[in-house]
Amino acid sequence: MIDKTIPSFDDAVEDIHDNAVIHFGGFVSPWNSPSYLVSALARQGAKNLTAISTSMGRGPDQAHLQTPWLPEHLTPTDFWDVGLLAKLGRIKKGIASFAVGHRHDLVYPFEERLSRGEVELELIGQGSLAERIRCARAGIPAFYTPVGPDTSVAEGKEVRYFNGKPHILETALHADYALIRAYQADRFGNLIYKGARTFNATMAGAATITIAEVDEIVPLGSLQPEHIHTPGAYVQRIIQRPKNPTLSWEESS
């Protein structure tokens, strides 16, 4: 019998080792961030991580600032992102399209460490980041893209002309673990997302172990085959978010 359900978030991330390469899904919102997986990884302590994420995150102190536009009852306290791990000094390298706060008064943990030379950064546009991750899922080691020639992202990369236009060679970004967020799952690991599917659906299957944090695990057969966004073949572990939010990332759930 297939049952990919994991009993606790601590169990879900238990085997993540130092120096692991990790995909962090979502797009900087409490409703698409794998917050409980991030907080469990923070407690677990693995370090020297390479984080692949669209944004290097805001961290625990500023995460709530992400949603100042929402009324209080829609502003969850249980929102943690890769910035928490940067704050704790667990990140060695980031591969991202957003690395710093977009205003001068917003200085995030990864940015602080970057200024001090404590972390490495590979800045890449969002489209190439998404495609490089999708290639890892699809077994494609490299592709040529028309996006990036004559800009900073082209540095050190092969340039080749197709249809008279310059293209750069981009390589797949595979990870050891993908931490993603979905709305519903069944025990086979089939996933359904609510709203924009962001990097969660892109990263599912692009890592050796994909772990999905979901709002709800539903009985097998509840998800209509046509509606499944990510087939279970891409997902190794699923875990349901707690019904009552935990107040601090240090608290197990």
Binding site: H104, E111, Q126, G127, A130, E131, V147, T151, G195, T202
Partner: protein, 223 residues
């Protein structure tokens, strides 16, 4: 000589939306370009796209108590559901962009030059920039419109012979809409098409760092 009044951000946005065709698929960058979402013509069906995997959403939510947290565009801005809306993954969203399926990208700009090069990602005093999806949008959209103030808050010129900041995307800008003018990037250079009320070609040229070719049919901006 006192400078004539410049256009408001609302009027700037309206210039952009004025020119969108019925059925256009449009991506609005964060900041100033997002203002366009508030001035879409009700006579036209414009489909807005957002990078995180959202196509055809409705206006930005004004009453945040009514916000659906699962329905936000880039920047975390809540938007409304709209008939015909669809969701997708990030990779599919950029397949849509890179593959040339977006009609118009409206982007902010720090600098644009006479070759249509765009610089809009540098953050002064920061250890790195933020690229976001700007490179893909500027390359992939059939038409790239830069919506920006004509000069910086320190009166520095932003439309130049050659960008001095790191490029976001080379040779991508088709039109520049500012608080004083509408300028097209053509093969022969920058063509001044329209000026704000009270402005003339000379005055626009004086705050522009590249030579402007004056359209023989130069007009005052009308909405």
């Amino acid at each position: 000589m006192n400078e004539p009044e410049r256009l408001t951000r609302e009027i700037m946005a309206m210039i952009v939306t004025r020119d969108l065709f019925d059925g256009a698929i449009v991506n609005l960058g964060v900041g100033l370009p997002l203002e366009c979402a508030n001035f879409l013509s009700r006579d036209k069906e414009i489909l807005l796209h957002s990078e995180l995997g959202l196509l055809g959403f409705g206006p930005v939510v004004n009453d945040y108590r009514k916000a659906d947290p699962y329905l936000t565009m880039v920047g975390g801005v809540p938007v409304t559901a709209h008939p015909g809306m669809s969701f997708m993954s990030h990779d599919e969203s950029f397949a849509l962009i890179r593959g040339g399926h977006i009609d118009v990208a409206v982007l902010g700009g720090l600098q644009v030059d006479q070759e249509g090069n765009l610089a809009n990602t540098q953050l002064i005093g920061k250890p790195a920039g933020n690229l976001g999806g700007a490179q893909d949008l500027a390359y992939g959209a059939k038409k790239t419109v830069v919506l920006m103030y004509h000069t910086t808050s320190r009166k520095e010129k932003k439309i130049l012979e050659r960008c001095t900041l790191p490029l976001t995307t080379p040779r991508c800008v088709n039109r520049i809409v500012t608080d004083v003018a509408v300028i097209d990037v053509e093969n022969q250079g920058l063509v001044l098409r329209e000026v704000a009320t009270g402005w003339n070609a000379e005055m626009v040229q004086s705050i522009t760092g590249a030579n402007l070719i004056i359209d023989p049919e130069l007009k005052e901006i009308e909405l």
